[in-house]
Symmetry: D3
Subunit: 308 residues, 6 copies
């Protein structure tokens, strides 16, 4: 074999991988005249929103009072242009027949959705300010509100969630999920964009937190690492597919604290002002003002080869 | 002190850090004629494999039927060249005496292993298609199979695992671990490349999942965030080193569901069709068709200073 | 509307977001003559320290005995220049009145702190060597010490912690937190820089581990994924702010092992040589040499719609 | 002045620069729904064409006979997508009223022009092969044809010219000029895309060569550095604007050599097989088979202060 | 020799190159507390100025009338911060004793110079508009003013010159030269920042143009490629160093055209409305309204081996 | 046509371009086990050499006397590793049969050549110091030697030449040409690596300078922009190929000055201490101590349409 050839196995594998039947189940067909949604672009977009929402912390925003308005102006315009591009890119992702999309209508729709989203930014900033305050007051180790905004993964995750939720409510497809998964990857906090969460929400440490799609969380709620607000199993339709849209996750009322690793499943209600201890498994309602903890541990419960 | 000098303490520290006895326990000596394994390169390699396995989703692959074969051809050739380079780089990483390596033999071995791995790609794609299907059917919040492939961290982690496992079976050193740790960092899902996992495997949310080296998982298994398939303590040899290669992780049979935060330790078997509730600690066999849950929680179990 | 204009809603939103009352709670004002602390720079700095501490593994360090000293020399000098820049940048982050800072004094202070930190690098390397050894001996799946240093997330997280702790002890603001959050994001391991941890410390898998600010950990301790050393609730001062600096996290004595997902809260002591089983919730002292596990699970504890 | 404000002069200058009358003569208004032409993108596009035309030299093209077709396939598809994007971007650059453009028609036109251009690539490659051969035969210092293709600025400039000329002939606006200016900047060779040039064309060294818009060059012509084929002055229309499109540059017939720094101006003809010596100034026809040189220099023609 | 060592010659060369006497003539000592001037930063700075001067062409400036002011605001503030940083970096470059610099005074000086420069931007824009107009009117091949601004190397070079000249007049060291050399490298046009040039100045093609430090050019002057406005030899002082600051380059009065490759040396005057033909060598005054051309060429002036 | 297909013309063009007969004249076949020479890598390499030769100016070299040796050590080691890699890559570029190369021998040869080159760096630095001095003394506009090293294109071009010449003398193929072409592109100065040039060499401005392969230049020579030291036509061998290696370029003796745009062709000698005026064309010997200038220009030599 000359050095210039590669092995027959490689050639055969290329053939095998190029056959339509090999890739038909895992192939994405995007209309080539439409941009592909881009996780990298979405990351830049979310960074841009963070820069708009928290002036002076991220990106290269000015910290001079004289010029804040210039930065906001430039950044909001960029947001408008990039966001409608990405919304347009995602409009027919997974829609079955990309050939069918009317691209002019889709572009107009994307522009309209972008405007509606941008209008909500002042309100999103306002509720995030309550989350920052709650995180600062809730953590004796926090040095300043600035440190909370700049460093705390929970603020990062909640910001992504609040952005994603606003897009979700506008029925923008795909992007909300990309935005919350981005935070999930960076912080280990997985909040479904459909969940509804009140003001002054805090998550401490946060790794492993899961908040499912139909969860409803009141105001002043605090959640620790590893807490799950999840679903029990779910009914299937006649074709064996899960029935979409059923309310299947918990309702957590105002002023609840849930400690680390608690798993709370199903459409149950954790009553206001309750405290849920760590590592418990809860699948039925908890009355308001309750405190619940795990059954006490045992001693000597298992044996290792020859101990440690 | 002139502005051009730096403090004596810096000079002394450089001396201290440069002494062989200071770094001998934490120094890596790579043959300078051999490339260093590179996490950045491995990341690019795994991205390339993802692009090959799921055409049209990642990278810049075409989404036109006419040209898929060109992209597959280019990408597989690149994979062949980059992979054998990295395998060669890792062949004597940690082998004790890098001076001893015969570089021609090592290169030939790396090429041969690359070919053997590449030949498995069609099969890896096929089993990943079953994982995608399982994730889609198992999540009422999933909008489309496209969304699952594009966004779900579990698919990303399982893809890395299936690639790493194939390399592990070929006895490629180091790289399998790098590949699964990459997914671990991005998704919080830590699957050892040695583990054996059947088709139609799903992980939901996933952060905190640990699947140990000698675990065996059947078909149609579903695991939630925070689940551990781990080992109890392990025997040491006469030098006090752990004895390698003992089967010490669980066997999970077909159609099992394990809920969030369950910890399952040791070479035990979770029988087929069982459901394991969240937050339980299991160190002995569970019979097929079982449902097990945590002992019910108590109320009022602990007292805070002055409550919340 | 001409194509060149954007919608009135965008203009109005720019106005709304640019009003001082809209951003005053979430705005950062940095002295424009002082650099902004930079997470990207801090990442590069920590990479540089890793390169210094573990020669030959990271960056482009030589692996030739002849030239290690050149690389150490260049890298320590770079560290000195970059670190004092970042310390200076962070000195008045969140200090209330950036106008008040004397920049010459602040620069001198930053240089002095950098020197004091750099002097500790040889010692940090020494204790990290014990952590590497413990990780290697504690994991039967580890192939070599090289693999542990190169791949294990726990070593990455513990390295960041030991660097951050040294900076914390020097009272460097902000940066310690950035450094541990960096590891938190990459590995899911969240160790507060204030925590005190002995030698030969290991974390296995690690995702979800939380070690709170006032925790004290002895020597030869091993912790698995999902373990929390946390605080119970904490007293507030008269203004309703949490009282800072109270010792509120556990003490873990020498030779303790804590299994996955255990949650240990409050200023309690886990006595030496104890083994804590997974998924337990502990809020009071555990005597030395204890083994504790979760109460045994129940069968059939909850009902799904129609099973799985 | 607080540190947070900037000087009044800056504010005033921002006002001054933002007034419409200040920028109206130097402002570009692009339809915001249309991409901006991008020099960086055009650079990437020309690199892509070079990779297609000269397989194995540039980019990451394979050098294996088995896989050349995959690379050509991928690269031509990318070229098609990127080129029509840039043509579309340039279609109304400088057209006066960007609002007037029908974007669907413009996109279709851009696609059509891209196809017509791509069809010419095989022919462009063929004529470039004659240029490479001429450069190799014409330079005793050339080591191999490979070196000529890989290193010679003239081949780079002529490639850009031949690409730009094909686009110019298709009446693609703006891009041809960007492409030849790119070569001008890199090589100092300035060939107008409208010029017509035969096969086996060589330029030696090349810096300072200028070939004007209406020049016509035959086959087997060789030109040295600093040669100008330019225009004399040109007539103006009634508004004082230069009249466009007049043939005002030289015709150079087959087999002519023009030595360094010769300046040849106006619609004159340099007859076949002539040799033009360096540094001459020619503004009228030269008969075929002529050899012309500068009038002989004088001695002692000028005096420096006190000599050198 | 072990694979881990490198040859003795390398070690010896490192020693040789590290000896102070080896590098003392070619070493730069910068105060380590002061930034190093950066060509890359200067490139970014000039790009930023181009974006400010020509809105909508370069960078990512808006092309919407509504938002131009935001972009100008952001860009001018960035310019202010970056420019004073670079001016400060260059203030003691080559000043002999970097230790001697008072850094607070130097910073204040840099800020003051930046403000003075920025104030001139509106005027610079105005005169550049006349240059653009002249280039457009002077080139029958120009399609539009937009094309001239976007593509013409002369506009790029003249912009750099006008910026550099303003900085030169403010006595900013080093940076003016960096800025004109940047244009020199990109366009082959070398204009000394000290030269004085009137409005409506054009250079056609431009490669090889040299305009020396003490040149004075009137209004409406046009220069072709390869034209030199240079100095004859210059007097030396008693130490043999050239005497600085003598007026030694030509004066070119209004409405002059100079054709390609003309070389004009010494403090002579080319009178108004003159036309200088290409390739001439002029070292004495030319009266107004003159037309001068090279002596006519000869035929058959030299002999090649056997012709061409 | 579905949106997912591209036009038939594209498909046909891919076929046409992929046929071996289409690309055989312009195809490069590199041994796939050997790296491709890389212009980007060579650029980095030359930057590295510049950093070594002129400490403190380029790259991130220290400017502290204490640490210069560390930077030299690191940079020389990097140079050794990168240079032998590139030499190896170029060894069989254009050698006809890449299959024939013995890669172990080629690698050893590349290492040996790298060592021999590196040994010459101290001497190269020494002669470059004379060039810097000559440029500084020869230009009244030069502010300092630092400015000359940092900004002057001639120093950049001469540095590249002196590096390339040393490699050329060691018979390293391809790379010398790449290195001088790099300078050619950046500065417009084209010096063939084979030319021999004495110490204290200066080029002023430089654009358009050409120094041919067999030129010999003495000490203290100064050359202005646009000067050519070229060849007349050259004899062909029996196959019509140019005969390689004939001495065909000028000899320029010590202390000569050549003014702008002079063209000097053939194996002639410009005697010591001569001054050559600009724009002359010289094809025969000039005696030592001569001053030669162009024949005086004429007035009114040509007529434009209606003047200017």
């Amino acid at each position: 074999m000359s050095k210039f050839e590669y092995p027959q196995e490689i050639k055969r594998t290329i053939e095998a991988l190029s056959k339509a039947e090999s890739f038909k189940a895992v192939w994405h067909r995007q209309n080539p005249d439409q941009p592909m949604p881009s996780v990298a672009e979405m990351r830049a977009l979310v960074d841009l929103m963070r820069e708009i929402l928290f002036p002076g912390y991220f990106g290269s925003s000015s910290t001079r009072p004289d010029s804040v308005k210039y930065y906001i102006g430039v950044n909001v315009e960029r947001l408008y242009d990039k966001l409608r591009h990405q919304i347009y890119a995602g409009l027919c992702f997974g829609c079955g027949d990309p050939d069918s999309m009317d691209s002019d209508k889709a572009k107009a729709r994307a522009a309209e959705l972008s405007v509606k989203f941008i209008e909500q930014l002042p309100e999103i900033r306002q509720v995030l300010a309550t989350d920052v305050e709650a995180a600062f007051l809730g953590d004796p180790a926090a040095q300043s509100r600035e440190e909370v905004i700049f460093c705390y993964p929970a603020i990062r995750a909640i910001t992504n969630y609040r952005i994603a939720h606003a897009l979700y409510e506008l029925k923008v497809p795909l992007l909300p999920r990309i935005i919350t998964e981005m935070a999930h990857s960076e912080t280990g906090i997985d909040i479904h964009p459909r969940a509804r969460i009140g003001h002054s929400f805090t998550i401490d440490h946060g790794t492993g937190v899961v908040i499912g799609a139909t969860s409803i969380i009141g105001n002043n709620v605090k959640i620790y690492q590893g807490v799950t607000l999840g679903a029990k199993s779910f009914p299937l339709d006649e074709q064996g597919n899960p029935i979409k849209g059923i309310e299947r996750h918990p309702i957590v009322e105002d002023n609840v604290i849930i400690y680390a690793q608690a798993t709370i499943l199903g459409r149950i209600t954790i009553g206001a002002n309750s405290v849920i201890g760590g590592n418990v498994w809860i699948t039925s309602d908890v009355a308001p003002n309750s405190k619940v903890v795990q059954e006490r541990y045992r001693f000597g419960g298992f044996v290792w080869g020859d101990g440690i």
